[in-house]
Amino acid sequence: MTEASAEPILQVRDLVKHFPVTQGVVFKRTIGHVRAVDGVSFDLHKGETLGVVGESGCGKSTLAQVLMRLEQPTSGTALFEGEDMFAKKGADLRRLRRDMQIVLQDPYTSLNPRKTVGDIVGEPFEIHPEVAPKGERQRKVQELLDIVGLNPEHVHRYPHQFSGGQRQRIGIARALALKPKVIVCDEPVSALDVSIQAQVMNLLGELQSEFGLSYIFIAHDLGVVRHLSDRVGVMYLGKMVETGTEDQIYEHPQHPYTQALLSSVPVPDPTLRDRREMIRLSGDVPSPANPPSGCRFRTRCWKATDLCAEQQPALEIRREGGQVVGDELSTDGNAHPSACHFAEERPHVVA
C-alpha cells in the first residue's frame, strides 16, 4: 500500500442523507426522517484505503450509494479532485462515473444472469464508447479478466457458471474497466466464504498497488478492514464516532463503541482470549428515525452521564485535564479524533 500524498482526492464534509418516512396512500404526508447518514466528514488520499466499519444499519451502504451518486444527498458537500461532486450533471457526471466505481456486496445479484461475462465486463465500454474503440473491446475485456485472475477464454460464459469468489472477481473487473481513481467497495467480501475472502482481499490489494487506486472499503468485519486499510472510520447510527490510522484505531481505541467492537473480534489463541477484557453491549441499536439526544451511543454506553444526553460530542481530538488523550500512554502520536465526552484508551480490549 502506497504512502498517502498531501492532496486528498476526495473530501467529504457534513454529508447528510435522510430518507422521508411517509404515511397515507393517495396524499402522502412526511411524518419523519430516517437519518441514515447524519453528518459524515472524511478525507481520502490518493492510493489510500479508508476503511468504514459499523454494525448493520449504521448507514455504511447509504454512504456508499450517496458517494456513487445513486442517491441524492440531503445536504453536505463532497469535493472530488477539488470539484463539487454533487453539482455535476450530464457530461460532467459521466466523466465522474469513469473516475469513481463501486464493487457491490452480493456477487449473486450484482451480475445480470442473462448476460455473458464478456457483456458484463464490456458494458462500461458500451456506455463510455470513448474509452475503447469498438474493435478493441473484446481484447480489453479479456485483459481485464486476466488481471482479476479469471480465464480470458470464459467470456462467453454466464454468471451462474462461476463460483461466488469468481463472480466477485467479475464485479471487480467491471469496476476496473474504466480505469477509475476511486473504488467504493461496499462489503465486497461479506457474502463470500472465509477462504475466498482472503483471495479477493489480496486481489484488491494487488490492484491498488498496480493502478494506484484509492479505496473506500466498507465492512462490518473489523479483521477484514484492518487487513487492507490505512485509515479507519467507525460509524454508529449515521455518524462517525472515531477516525484514525489503522494502528490508532486497533491498538489505541478511545471511543467506547470502538472498544466494544474490538473486544468482540474473535481471538484464535485461547490463552490470549482469557487475558482480554470482554465488553458486552446490551440492548439494540436505536431507530435511526428517532435517534437519542446528545451522544447517539449513550443508550448502550456504560460511561453515559447527563452530559451525554444533553450535549452531542464532536468528532475531535479529545483533551483530558489539559493533556491530549492518547498521548499519556505513549508518545508516538496516538492522538486521533473521537466523538466521546469521556474518551480514554482502554488497551486491554485489544488482543
Partner: protein, 324 residues
C-alpha cells in the same frame, strides 16, 4: 500479501500455458464463434437443438400453410350444405363426418384455421405489446406514473369481459348497414380482446419489472452511468420475459375461445367466415348425438394451443442461461 499474490500469479501463468495449447486446438473451430454473442444469439443456437422447439415450429408452420392455402388441404366448399348427410359419422368420403347442416367438418376445420389463428395470434401480440410497454413503464418509473397508469388499467380490469365486448362491438357496428366485411369484424374482435385483456399482461410485466429494477446489477449499471433506456432494454426487459411468455402462450388458446364466445353471441365472426370457435360453440347442442362435431375442431384447437405453449416454453428456457 505480495508473496501470496506472486504465488497466485505463478500458478496462474502455469495454467495459462496449459490453456494456450487448448486454445491452439480450439482456434480453428472457434474462429466462427469468436464474435461477441449475446443472449439472443445463444438462445437461437440453443433453440435449434431443442426437439420441443422443432416439433412446435413444425406444427405451427403446418397450421400457417393451412390457413393461407386451405384449398391445398380440402377440395370441398366448407359452406355447401347437403342436408341428406346431416350429422353423418366420419367415413372415407368425409373424414371428420358432417355437421347438423350437412357441411363437411374436415373442410370446415381446414378453412376455420385462418380466422382462429389470425384472431388468436394477433390479439395475443396486441395484448402482450400493450401490456408489456405499459407494464415496464409503470414498474420501472414507479411513483405517480405507476399510480396513474395502474388505476387506468384497473378500469378495464373491472369490466366483465363479455359485457365490455358487447358494448365495444355494438358501438363499433352501430351505423353499419348489412353484414360488415369479415376483415372488419376480425379487426374489431382483435382490438376488443386487446383493449379488455392488456391490463392482465401489464400487471404481470409490472411486478416483474419492479423485481428486476431492484436488483444489484441495475445499481451497478447506474453507477456506470447507463441511461434509463439502456437499463430497461438490456437489464430489466430480458429478466421480465419469462412470466409474460408463459402468460402469452396460455392466453393464446383462451383468445381463440373468446372469439367463439363473441361469435356465439352474434358479435363476432359471421357466415360465410368459418372459425373453430364457431364450430365448437354450435356443437354443444349435439354433443351427445354427434360428438364428432365437437371432437375434431376441439382437437385442432388443442394441438394449436399446445404447439404455441411448447414454443413459448422452449423460447423461455433458451432465454434463461441457467436452464442450459
Amino acid at each position: 500479501m505480495t508473496d501470496t499474490g506472486e504465488a497466485q500469479r505463478s500458478i496462474g501463468s502455469a495454467g495459462a500455458a496449459a490453456q494456450a495449447t487448448v486454445e491452439a486446438q480450439d482456434k480453428a473451430s472457434s474462429t466462427k464463434t469468436e464474435k461477441q454473442r449475446g443472449l439472443w444469439g445463444d438462445a437461437w443456437r440453443d433453440l435449434r437443438r431443442r426437439p420441443l422447439f422443432i416439433v412446435a415450429s413444425a406444427i405451427i408452420l403446418f397450421l400457417l400453410v393451412m390457413s393461407v392455402f386451405p384449398g391445398l388441404f380440402a377440395s370441398t366448399d366448407p359452406n355447401v350444405q347437403i342436408l341428406d348427410k346431416a350429422r353423418d359419422d366420419p367415413s372415407a368420403e368425409a373424414w371428420f363426418g358432417y355437421d347438423h347442416l350437412g357441411r363437411d367438418i374436415y373442410a370446415r376445420v381446414v378453412y376455420g384455421a385462418r380466422a382462429s389463428i389470425i384472431v388468436g395470434v394477433l390479439s395475443t401480440v396486441l395484448v402482450v405489446l400493450l401490456g408489456s410497454v405499459v407494464g415496464v413503464i409503470t414498474g420501472y418509473a414507479g411513483g405517480k406514473t405507476d399510480s396513474f397508469l395502474s388505476r387506468f388499467a384497473e378500469i378495464f380490469l373491472g369490466l366483465p369481459f363479455v359485457l365490455g365486448a358487447i358494448v365495444i362491438l355494438s358501438v363499433f357496428n352501430a351505423g353499419v348497414a348489412g353484414t360488415p366485411s369479415s376483415t372488419r369484424i376480425m379487426t374489431q374482435v382483435i382490438v376488443t380482446i386487446g383493449v379488455l385483456a392488456w391490463p392482465i399482461c401489464m400487471r404481470i410485466m409490472r411486478s416483474a419489472a419492479i423485481a428486476a429494477k431492484q436488483q444489484d446489477y441495475v445499481k451497478a449499471a447506474k453507477a456506470l452511468g447507463a441511461s434509463h433506456s439502456r437499463i430497461i432494454f438490456k437489464h430489466v426487459l430480458p429478466n421480465c420475459l419469462a412470466p409474460v411468455m408463459v402468460y402469452a402462450t396460455i392466453a393464446l388458446g383462451g383468445f381463440i375461445g373468446l372469439e367463439a364466445t363473441l361469435s356465439y353471441l352474434g358479435l363476432g365472426l359471421k357466415y360465410p367466415v368459418v372459425s373453430w370457435g364457431m364450430m365448437i360453440s354450435v356443437s354443444q347442442q349435439y354433443i351427445v348425438s354427434t360428438p364428432h362435431m365437437l371432437v375434431f375442431p376441439a382437437l385442432f384447437l388443442i394441438v394449436t394451443v399446445l404447439a404455441f405453449v411448447m414454443l413459448g416454453d422452449a423460447v423461455r428456457d433458451a432465454l434463461d442461461p441457467k436452464q442450459k
